[in-house]
Amino acid sequence: MNYVELIGVFAKTGASAFGGWSTTALLLEKELVENRKLLEPHDIKGATTYAQILPGATQVSIVANVGYRLHGFVGACMATATYLLPSIGLITLFAIAYFHFADNTSNLMVHMDGLVAVLAGVILANAYKIGSKHTTKAWLWMLIVLAFVLKLWLGVNALLIIVMFGLSGLILSWTSARRILK
């Protein structure tokens, strides 16, 4: 695969990857494994698994990893830049329009109570999906509620909550008590 093809594949993926990281993984598998036969299915699976244990945008971790497998460091840079271009380009255009017409946009948002209500529902659904992925036992939902209460009612710093929960998991992993999570 030459660089022009690489740019084409990742720009196309970046422009059509609606609905989270799984869409990105599926699109790359179809394009690079099924259509072009440049990678094996386990390459995409490995990139996806890594992406989930690394911090940050899962999609970007997948794309950087796959780009690296195709063309080393340069491939990773080009793949990531071209993958991000459609979404970041759109957001920049949105930011320009939003802040340029700030007064009008604020007025419009006043009439957008419905949109804000839907957004709250979509964010809650997102929370449920993240929770479902990590709750290996039903009682772990109580820890999610604990994080919710700590942030919303007690105003604890979000970063502190994240570090506390992550370290608790890490400490448990060194003890026999880790079985309560499985």
Partner: protein, 171 residues
């Protein structure tokens, strides 16, 4: 402005490092709205709504949006680079050197702990974007409908948001 952009760069890196499989909305809310007041709740709602309707990792584009608010196009670039650079480098590093990390139980339980907290924090963000004190009965119905549609039928947020926008305009 330079000081703000440097702070945004540092905060974006922090957010990217503290996000495992979701939860960045909560951190953008805390740092961008509550602590620095770079944007307000309305701005965050607007960019999150637009982000959900955009392909790719658009929620992370909130860093781009805040960067633009602070310093135009150069600011947008600072926010974007800050939010993506470290995970990008870690991903390459992991692909090259850490093949054993995939089966590491310590890493897995650390990620599980962070993931559980992220779920709670994201839920708290939902109550942050909506003005709970002044919420109308129909907004509660719409929010619950959107929650059910997103979970039960896995509808694309784009369609759910469009439907909500139209309902809001009609009511």
């Amino acid at each position: 402005m330079i000081a703000d952009l440097l702070q945004l760069f540092a905060i974006s890196i922090f957010i990217s490092l503290a996000t495992y499989g979701g939860g960045s909305q909560a951190l953008f809310y805390q740092f961008g709205v509550q602590q620095t007041h770079w944007i307000d709740k309305t701005d965050l709602s607007a960019i999150l709504a637009f982000g959900y309707a955009t392909p790719g990792p658009a929620v992370f584009g909130t860093a781009t949006f805040i960067g633009y608010a602070l310093g135009g196009i150069p600011g947008a670039i600072v926010g974007t680079v800050g939010i993506f650079i470290v995970p990008f480098m870690m991903s390459i590093f992991a692909a090259k050197y850490f093949t054993h990390l995939l089966k590491n139980q310590h890493a897995a339980l650390f990620v599980q702990g962070v993931g559980l907290s992220a779920a709670g924090l994201v839920a708290a963000t939902a109550f942050g974007v909506i003005d709970v004190g002044a919420i109308a009965w129909w907004q509660i119905v719409v929010a619950l409908g959107s929650l059910a549609a997103s979970i039960k039928w896995s509808l694309n947020p784009l369609f759910v948001l469009l439907a909500g926008g139209i309902i809001g305009l009609v009511l």
